[in-house]
């Protein structure tokens, strides 16, 4: 059974059809890339999966259950975590405070007006672990808003990972990053996939990364599903070449 499944999903914004008739299956444990030119509907697809928007037609199912009328908050609790195309973090707080909120939320502590010493240590340990994974330790006391763009993306990744997602949706995780940072992010994505077995759906424009890490690729164009297959199949697909690869590169 697929972890994520879309059946004939469409979404209109007034006269604009952002997505039309999309059917898609993402099995448990897969690392799937979502590509397509600007305005193809990639982010809109994320918005439908996370409950931010409702489909105009069709159905989205996660773990076999329909996500119809389920709030974004509930979907997070079911294990769908996302990052955003434009980084969404807590800019006026330090990196440490960013992760503190994320970890406390992940542990379901939000309502607590105080914490026992043991709990506090648990929270601190989880934060340290995330800092290690993302190599953010040196930035712990820096305001998130003062970080370089690439480091802000890492903070958002750390926030997302605090929740131990079942399905991780990454919207252009390497956009605006330098070469070295891009490589780190790529390694991280591969690590999450290989070592932790997290199912990942990521939107990416950098073909090198996609062909490097993705199990399968889904291509959107103008709101339609243009092609789907392994990197080798997509590279050989004439439609994709015409509509996308040829057009851009």
């Amino acid at each position: 059974m697929s972890l994520l499944s879309l059946k004939n999903v469409s979404r209109h914004f007034g006269a604009v059809t952002a997505l039309s008739g999309i059917s898609l299956e993402v099995p448990q444990g897969e690392l799937r890339a979502l590509i397509g030119p600007n305005g193809a509907g990639k982010t809109t697809l994320f918005n439908l999966i996370t409950g931010f928007f409702r489909p105009s037609e069709g159905e989205v199912r996660f773990s076999g259950h329909s996500v119809k009328d389920v709030s974004p908050e509930k979907l997070v609790q079911r294990g769908i975590i996302r990052t955003f195309q434009i980084t969404e973090i807590f800019l006026d707080l330090t990196v440490y405070q960013n992760l503190e909120i994320a970890v406390e939320t992940a542990k379901g502590l939000n309502l607590r007006p105080w914490l026992s010493r043991r709990r506090r240590r648990e929270v601190r340990d989880s934060i340290d672990e995330l800092m290690d994974t993302l190599r953010l330790g040196r930035l712990s006391n820096h305001l998130a808003g003062e970080l370089a763009h690439g480091d802000q993306r890492l903070v958002e990744m750390a926030i997302a990972l605090s929740h131990e997602p079942k399905l991780l949706l990454l919207d252009e995780p390497t956009a605006g990053m330098g070469d070295e940072e891009t490589q780190r992010m790529t390694e991280l994505i591969r690590h999450l996939h290989n070592q932790r077995g997290i199912t990942i759906l990521f939107i990416e424009h950098d073909m090198a990364i996609i062909f490097d890490v993705a199990d399968r690729i889904t291509v959107l164009d103008n709101g339609r599903l243009l092609a789907e297959g392994t990197p080798a199949e997509i590279a050989a697909n004439a439609d994709v070449q015409a509509a996308y690869l040829g057009g851009v590169k």
Binding site: L93, I101, E104, T105, N110, R112, P113, G150, H163
Partner: protein, 336 residues
């Protein structure tokens, strides 16, 4: 490339651990100074031309603003209706003393319960809206209570206000707490002010407080971490309402009087002004703001009936030159 540049800038900053230790020490010193001043106020106030009841007034306004600031400064909810819960606290206490009991503690409790539950009850209506709509609904609800107080003459005394009650002494076995004495009443107020401070202080250091601040910072991120923002806004609203109600209850005891003005949106606006003047992002901002507010009011109202326009002018200047409030301004100067 970008990150290499930023690391270079980082290196120019002082070591983080050291600077954070220093700022903690500074904060402890500042708090110690504040408490020392508050504890000795009845002794030095007369030297500055002040009087003890003026000190109690400062405490009451600080407490109300402290409660409001939990919502306004830390959670980011712009309430222009907090006088409603302040006023309910005052009326609850006054009515209880006048019609039900002569016990000051019970009356205080009644006021806190009335105002706090009012905020808890009307919170859900409010928090469904955001930004300016949130502000407008808080005003509307506040004005509703105002009109009830004005119209329900037989119970509330209407526009003339509620009179005919008086705070009473508290008996502990043979010992008597003589609340008629201004100095003792000041310390009585200070005790509850300290409780309010302790509540806000510990909430801010807890996951609950972290959640409030996260609401202020980025609701979208928080929603997509699975947090129901509206629910936590409501909690912030309720806590802040209880504290405002406590302040209102003390205000009724201080004056042995309460009037619809204590419920009015003008007063709600004053609470907001106090927070902004002092510094919304700081813990002691509301105290600093209310010192300015109460002292200016006391001094100018004896000279001109238009004292409010002076507060307004100070407010405009503060917003122009100290957008982070007075305390926020100094904090930023020191941290640089």
């Amino acid at each position: 490339m970008k990150s290499a540049a930023s690391r270079h800038v980082d290196a120019a900053k002082p070591a983080d651990a050291m600077s954070s230790q220093k700022s903690t020490r500074r904060r402890v010193a500042a708090s110690a100074l504040v408490w020392a001043l508050l504890l000795t106020a009845p002794y030095w106030l007369p030297l500055t031309g002040g009087y003890t009841d003026l000190g109690s007034r400062v405490l009451v306004f600080s407490l109300a603003a402290l409660g409001l600031n939990l919502l306004l400064g830390f959670t980011g909810g712009l309430s222009f209706g907090h006088a409603a819960y302040f006023g309910l606290g005052a009326y609850g206490t006054g009515l209880m003393l006048k019609f039900v009991t002569h016990s000051t503690p019970l009356a205080l409790l009644a006021g806190v319960a009335l105002g706090g539950l009012g905020a808890t009850l009307f919170g859900p209506v409010t928090v469904r809206r955001r930004g300016i709509y949130f502000a407008m609904i808080t005003i509307a609800i506040g004005q509703m209570f105002y009109f009830v107080a004005v119209r329900w003459n037989s119970l509330t005394g209407g526009e003339d206000g509620l009179t005919g009650f008086e705070r009473t002494n508290i008996h502990f076995g043979h010992a008597i707490l003589n609340l008629h004495n201004s100095t003792i009443f000041y310390y009585f107020t200070l005790f509850f002010f300290a409780i309010g401070c302790a509540v806000v202080w510990s909430v801010l250091r807890s996951p609950l407080g972290h959640t409030f601040v996260a609401i202020r910072e980025n609701q979208k991120r928080l929603r997509f971490l699975g947090v129901s923002v509206g629910f936590y806004l409501w909690i912030a609203f309720a806590i802040s309402g209880f504290i405002a109600a406590l302040a209102g209850a003390l205000y009724a005891l201080l004056n042995n009087f309460t009037s619809p003005e204590d419920l009015n949106w003008v007063l709600s606006g004053d609470f907001v002004i106090i927070c902004v003047l002092g510094g919304m992002r700081t813990f002691w901002g509301p105290l600093v703001g209310s010192v300015i507010y109460v002292v200016v009011q006391d001094y100018l109202s004896s000279i001109t009936v238009n004292w409010m326009s002076f507060i307004g002018a100070i407010f405009v200047l503060a917003v122009l030159f100290f957008p982070w409030g007075l305390l926020g301004f100094f904090q930023r100067r020191i941290q640089k």
